[in-house]
Symmetry: C2
Subunit: 96 residues, 2 copies
Amino acid sequence: MMVIISYDVSTASTGGTKRLRQVAKACEAHAQRVQNSVFEADLDYSAFLKLKAELVRIIDEKTDSLRFYYLGNHWKRRVEHIGAKKGYDPEGPIII
Amino acid sequence: MMVIISYDVSTASTGGTKRLRQVAKACEAHAQRVQNSVFEADLDYSAFLKLKAELVRIIDEKTDSLRFYYLGNHWKRRVEHIGAKKGYDPEGPIII
């Protein structure tokens, strides 16, 4: 299933920069970055729940926020890209 | 219907800062900002097409990118927010 992960980490609050780095790192390990703080995670449900739990552990819920948009399994018809940097197709051929 | 609009405008290219301002302004007029460059647009289809055409006109497709995630009409079950700044409910009560 595809989940769009968008986050907003307050770097003004103490430890904010470190949390921002950790959130980005956790997302990069499991998802494709499409914008600065927007990732596309094409994962099975249990893998997604693990990532989500990790992100919730990292952020400070008083100052930071996470937003998840659940696109489901038939997500390709729900995503449209216009312009540069098309981004990879998570289910496309792997070019080595 | 709800569409998530995410954009990436190259401010390094000429006119980039102006395009970024124009894209943000166009989105702010019709949608709710949830992240720096992420908006939630709860619009009917024709209003959305107008906004989309405006955004496509503004960007430079060689350097900038727009991404649209179509969540459809029953979108509330597809969006999950964790943490600060819940953001308004586009169909919720207007607090005056």
